[in-house]
């Protein structure tokens, strides 16, 4: 197995190491989101509050899951954390996004680019559309290598192959010479993982990383993601509607409904003893899918109405 230690250390890396140690001493999380509110335009004059009052903390090396159904605001939360919300004066982000000692809400594009270039890796849902179709896969991985390991063609090729292999692509040299459309969905998703880890980020945000893949490939890609995160020791935010996926890979979990975090806690704890009615209903509907003895369960409208009221009362 290859390790990160072979990578040439840069001054940047050392200072990040020092920061990590000081955070560990003070039990300071690498990412702390406080009272995040995101308003998105829906029409010419109307806005919707996609995320209201979300607070999230992620420590170094911790894996955090965000679950919720479609429209619960989990992806928007992920995008806000990586500064990838549309840049329009009508998109309003309130609250605090504190990442590695810096307040990022309201940060300039340059500051965001700096953080995204070296410290936050993103893995998106649809692996085809998220790769440049006119660029060879290897070149796309090379783009996110650390500047020091980018020098020299042969060193670069070796580094690219190393990260592709780390992402579970055995024919790394051959894959590097391919265009995205020549690879299968699973391979493309592994390429996206390689791109995300190649910059050795402190935090990886995986937004529905396996939703576009079929179930068997899904399991293998998740295992790869799991392995790479363990090897590199970075933090992970896994965003998914699939509670089973999140359950198998995370330490802590946030359950979101309608833009609010309705329950949070240790993953095992929340799954074994869900306190909130929404989490209970969500778990019941997932279990009814896999268990033949249970009737298919979907969250009833009465519960949704009550939840909406509860959420509305919180907001005011």
């Amino acid at each position: 197995m290859m390790s990160v230690a072979t990578n040439p250390r840069t001054a940047d890396r050392e200072s990040r190491e020092a920061q990590r140690e000081s955070r560990a001493a003070g039990r300071e999380p690498i990412l702390r989101v406080r009272n995040l509110k995101v308003q998105l335009p829906t029409g010419d004059r109307t806005e919707v509050e996609a995320v209201s009052d979300v607070s999230i903390a992620v420590h170094d090396g911790e894996r955090v899951g965000i679950v919720g159904e479609s429209g619960s605001g989990k992806s928007i939360t992920g995008r806000a954390i990586s500064g990838l919300l549309p840049t329009s004066p009508r998109v309003r982000v309130e609250g605090s996004i504190h990442f590695a000692g810096r307040e990022m809400n309201g940060a300039s594009t340059q500051e965001w680019d700096e953080v995204r270039a070296r410290r936050i890796g993103m893995i998106f849902q649809d692996p085809l559309t998220f790769l440049n179709p006119t660029m060879k896969v290897g070149a796309q991985v090379a783009e996110s290598l650390e500047p020091t390991s980018r020098r020299g063609r042969s060193a670069r090729i070796a580094e690219v192959a190393r990260f592709l292999r780390l992402a579970g692509l055995e024919d790394a040299e051959q894959v590097a010479m391919c265009f995205p459309h020549e690879l299968s969905g699973g391979m493309r998703q592994r390429v996206l993982i390689a791109i995300a880890i190649a910059k050795l980020p402190d935090l990886i945000i995986a937004d529905e990383p396996t939703t576009a893949l079929d179930a068997t490939v899904q399991a293998r890609v998740l295992r790869t993601l799991d392995d790479t995160v363990s090897q590199l020791g970075n933090s992970l935010i896994l965003i998914s509607h699939d509670i089973a996926v999140v359950a198998s890979m995370t330490d802590r979990i946030y359950v979101m409904y309608n833009g609010h975090v309705v329950e949070e806690g240790g993953t095992a704890e929340v799954l074994a003893r869900p306190r909130h009615r929404y989490t209970q209903a969500l778990l019941r509907s997932v279990r009814s899918l896999s268990d033949d003895h249970l009737d298919l369960y979907s969250i009833p409208w009465e519960l949704r109405r009550e939840l909406s009221k509860e959420v509305a009362s919180r907001a005011s």
Partner: protein
């Protein structure tokens, strides 16, 4: 591999649909490089040599033929004998005139097309990718140049600066680039909403870098086709200007030859036929090659061997 085999390979490659059928995980299909795909297309095999012959004749040929303006020979001599393409109304060697004329026509055609493409990619790319104020401002600039009356501009410039081939190129490029910019802008607007642009932003790349390495390469296919059309259009517009006497009269272009042939259409068919055929074949070859390059540049078409 023989030529026949190559053609079959190219045909088979062309019939491959640009679908996203996934090969099994872990398997990698072999593929051809952009240049190989381009060079193996049947249309390339015909039109690339044709274009090269015209370039060769026009730029090397002048050293082997006589002066295009030497008079004193019998006038309106039909093709054959000492004058393979005959002589014109003043008794000048028509072969020499056609060969020299090619230099001007090709120079104008290609430099105008390249200039239009360059300006169009920069302006259209910036406008389409950044949008907002940048877009509004650049579109207005493009519209300004598009409505400039090219002919009058050419007349004025010729009067003020004298008429030579570089001024003709500049004027044609100034009036023709907006149509290319429009195409690039539309493509850039479409592409900037795609996932890989978000990927690039997530990788922390700045706007100019994303524009150059993600937006422009993906916007190129329609731009190349438009550029190949521009070559033909520039050659034809130049001939219109030549008709008005703008341009170097001592070295007439194909367009100028064609125009002065009008008066002798009844007696001397060769005066119109040869420059006309040259323009037609060059424009055809450039368009076919542009089309082929478009297919070859698109990595999703015709790649799997």
């Amino acid at each position: 591999m023989t030529t026949t085999d190559d053609t079959i390979v190219a045909d088979a490659a062309q019939s491959t649909q640009p679908e996203h059928d996934s090969p099994a995980e872990g398997r990698v299909e072999s593929r051809l490089s952009t240049w190989k795909v381009f060079l193996r297309k049947p249309s390339t095999l015909i039109f690339l040599p044709l274009l090269l012959i015209f370039v060769l004749i026009s730029f090397v040929g002048p050293f082997f033929v006589g002066s295009p303006s030497a008079t004193g020979n019998p006038t309106l001599l039909p093709p054959g004998g000492a004058f393979p393409l005959g002589t014109d109304d003043l008794g000048r060697d028509y072969l020499a005139r056609v060969v020299h004329g090619g230099q001007i026509s090709l120079l104008v055609g290609f430099s105008v097309a390249l200039l239009c493409m360059t300006i169009g990619v920069v302006v259209g790319g910036l406008a389409g990718y950044y949008g907002g104020f940048m877009d509004t401002a650049l579109v207005k600039v493009a519209e300004f140049f598009q409505v400039l009356p090219g002919l009058i501009l050419a007349l004025v410039a010729a009067a003020l600066l004298g008429s030579n081939v570089f001024i003709i190129v500049a004027i044609l490029a100034i009036t023709m680039w907006p149509s290319c910019a429009r195409i690039v802008r539309a493509e850039a607007m479409r592409i900037s909403k795609l996932g890989y642009i978000e990927s690039a932003k997530a990788a922390g790349f700045g706007g100019i870098r994303i524009l150059w390495s993600d937006v422009v390469p993906n916007a190129m296919p329609p731009v190349l086709v438009a550029t190949s059309m521009t070559v033909g259009r520039a050659i034809l517009v130049e001939s219109g200007l030549a008709y008005l006497g703008i341009g170097d009269t001592s070295r007439p272009s194909w367009g100028a030859l064609l125009n002065s042939a009008q008066a002798y259409m009844q007696q001397a068919w060769w005066l119109a036929l040869f420059p006309g055929m040259c323009i037609f074949l060059v424009v055809l070859a450039v368009n076919m090659l542009g089309d082929g390059l478009n297919d070859a540049l698109n990595p999703t078409i015709g790649r799997v061997k």
